[in-house]
């Protein structure tokens, strides 16, 4: 009996061993077949369809979830690409924003995942340099010539990992009706920096919240920093910053952050804002008419606020210039985001072709019409049927605009986000935040080889 059991166990072990070996064999075959879909198949999977062999491009993005019409619109764009490229299938994974970045970090470590992804340019893309394909020599001249904000999108190592798509500008959205009700002149209330501070003092003295704000998620601090640093850096400083040469301990960063402190001291932000988030509490606050002003970054916010507060109630204007700015007028504006190709893409040519298709005037026009995303092409002018949105487009178009957003590394921004509520509550200093953020920035840049 015992021998029978022992024999049975030995047999079981043998079968298990064979099964494991067989599984390894199939896994190996599987990985070989995946690899064979890569470089070897490039000739068979050209955008024109090649030999007709089927190819699937995996696309990861948070963008379709940004607008209610997003999923349908991106489906239309990808359908058109599939139609023009027989045998090609686009598989879109539309993640929530935070999930996207966690998944992408994992994919970039494992070097397995999507072929095409949504990405921010500059330092963010530079942080994933080992996973992304430089696009500067792969984009067609027609596309490269017509895309705006290329300079802001180049990473500190000099490569363009992201083809910028869509555009945005930070602007000041304010409720003229609430200002009139408070006895203030809506045309003058935010005309200059001093006016802004005086308006905050007057409104807060009356118990009205001047600026919709929420500091607990920390995004607001970085938003103000983009606005102020774009205003404060001259051409040389900007060039130095986007190439990773300007430390955050430069006095102009302290100057920028001190303007936020100045706003806080003038009563621009409510006490409750410490426990609120920018996404979505502050947006809700300005749309609901519970605060007068908001540094918005998309035209939709202005339209929603006006729909809720009555026609003619809201105004879209450039953010007032801070003292010490070398510019007469400038707004932080740039590409809304962009598209990248991973260096393990099953077919890089095809992936680049897909990006070109997303950036094409037809696709950008479709995105504008369906999701209100202004295009980022100099050869594609759009108009809105809403006057506030038109004012917003006018701010985006201003020729001096540029963005400092993409020159901050994710590591430095994480410090800003973490310390935002502490700064507003007076629990930490501007210098302490910038020192820590600079240490993170320098370390992140050093990993890019800067």
């Amino acid at each position: 009996m015992t021998n029978t059991i022992a024999r049975g166990l030995r047999l079981l072990a043998l079968v298990a061993s064979i099964a494991v070996l067989a599984a390894c064999g199939s896994a190996e075959e599987g990985s070989n077949s995946t690899a064979s879909n890569g470089a070897d198949d490039q000739t068979a999977t050209t955008p024109a369809g090649g030999s007709g062999e089927s190819v699937t491009l995996e696309v990861w993005s948070w963008l379709p979830n940004d607008h209610e019409n997003g999923p349908d619109t991106y489906a239309q764009i990808f359908d058109a690409f599939e139609e023009a490229n027989p045998g090609v299938t686009i598989e879109l994974t539309a993640s929530p924003y935070t999930t996207f970045w966690d998944s992408w970090r994992n994919a970039s470590i494992a070097q397995v995942g999507p072929d095409v992804i949504s990405m921010y340019g500059g330092a963010t893309a530079g942080g994933y340099a080992s996973s992304l394909v430089p696009l500067q020599d792969l984009l067609s001249p027609e596309t490269a010539e017509n895309l705006r904000f290329i300079d802001s999108t180049v990473s500190p190592d000099g490569n363009l990992y992201v083809a910028p798509a869509g555009s945005y500008a930070y602007y000041l959205l304010y409720n003229a009706q609430m200002l009139s009700d408070a006895g203030l002149d809506p045309d003058q209330a935010f005309a200059t920096w001093d006016d802004l501070l005086a308006t905050c003092e007057a409104l807060s003295a009356q118990g009205t919240t001047p600026f919709a704000s929420g500091w607990s998620d920390g995004y607001e601090l970085e938003g103000y920093m983009y606005i102020f640093m774009t205003q404060l850096l001259d051409d040389e400083g900007f060039e130095s910053f986007v190439t990773g040469q300007l430390p955050l301990t430069d006095e102009r960063f302290a100057e920028g952050m001190n303007h936020i402190v100045e706003m806080n001291e003038a009563g621009c932000f409510s006490e409750e804002s410490l426990g609120m988030t920018m996404y979505y509490d502050a947006f809700d606050e300005v749309i609901a008419g519970e605060a007068v002003a908001f540094p918005a970054g998309g035209g939709d916010t202005a339209v929603s606020a006006e729909e809720n507060n009555g026609e003619g109630s809201m105004v879209v204007a450039p953010f007032p210039m801070v003292p010490g700015s070398p510019h007469e007028r400038i707004s932080d504006a740039g590409p809304n985001q962009g598209w990248s190709v991973t260096n393990w893409a099953v077919d890089q040519d095809l992936a680049v072709a897909l990006i070109e298709h997303i950036l094409s005037p037809e696709s950008q026009q479709l995105l504008w019409e369906n999701t209100d995303l202004p295009p980022n092409r100099s050869d594609l002018a759009v108009e809105s049927d809403h006057p506030l949105f038109d004012d917003y487009l006018g701010i985006i178009e201003h020729p001096t605009n540029r963005t400092t957003f993409m020159a901050f590394t994710d590591a430095a921004l994480a410090i800003f986000q973490r310390e935002a509520s502490n700064l507003i509550a007076g629990r930490t200093s501007v210098e302490a935040i910038l020192e820590e953020a600079d240490a993170a920035q320098q370390r992140a840049l050093s990993e890019l080889g800067q």
Binding site: T2, L274, S421
Partner: protein, 295 residues
Amino acid sequence: MRWGRDRAEPARSALLVGPAVLLVAAILYGPTLYVGFQSFFDWRPNSPSPFVGLDNYLTVLGSDSFQTVMWNQFVLILGLPLWVIVPLMITFLLHKDVKAPGLWRTIYFVPAVLSPALVGILFRALLGSDGVVNAGLRKIGLDWLALGWLTEPHLVKPVIIVLILWAQVGVGVVIFSAALSAVPEELFEAAELDGAGWWTRLTRIAVPSIKDAIWLWVGFQVIAIFLFMFGWVYVLTGGGPGLASTTIDFLVYQEVFRFGFFPTAAAMSMLMVLVLLALFGVPAALVRRRMRGTS
């Protein structure tokens, strides 16, 4: 025949235990050793990663963030007496003095089966600066008590301690109840006849009788404070304000996913393992040595 059986025994044992050992090694020890190995390198996935010796550990130990987070861990562990005593007392109350103890145990257990994410969202809505609790306090004229429960650095850790108690008390009650059910009822009856009161029966009979279960529970709680706080912190406070509620597991996550600093994340992970080994391994070894000495 007997000789043959003895020869087959080790092979059979190895075969039966082997898969489990391999699985544990592959899932648990393999990655831990890999991270431990990488913690001595300037680890850059998919790029050259030069050997840096103990530099990563020195960087971590010298960083203000890590020191703040270790302090947070220490403060959270101060909740341990609360997390042990409250379920213990509830267990003892349910042991005899309450009708339908099973129903009560179920009620206490419900929070333990809720996902930390759900609990985090629930309590964020309750305890936010404009949340239900503060709104209620303001409504009844207690404005001075409407505090920033999750936004004041000195309040957020005590709030988390209480939330852990709320979420875990049911599990403690179930574990202690199971242990207490094995204690002969006659002991309590005899003590009662001798005039021992409720407190005496709890401290002189119940606690010594179930001390192994209590130590098990203490161990679970300490491990949870180091390893399983992520879901709560992520949803409830995001580690803030600043680093005031950041725990070591959340810090490691931030180091990798927000900062992209893999070498220091590896060093932090290994330090976390070392702390847990020190907390459990050293006392366990001392106890074993003492027991050997006694025998």
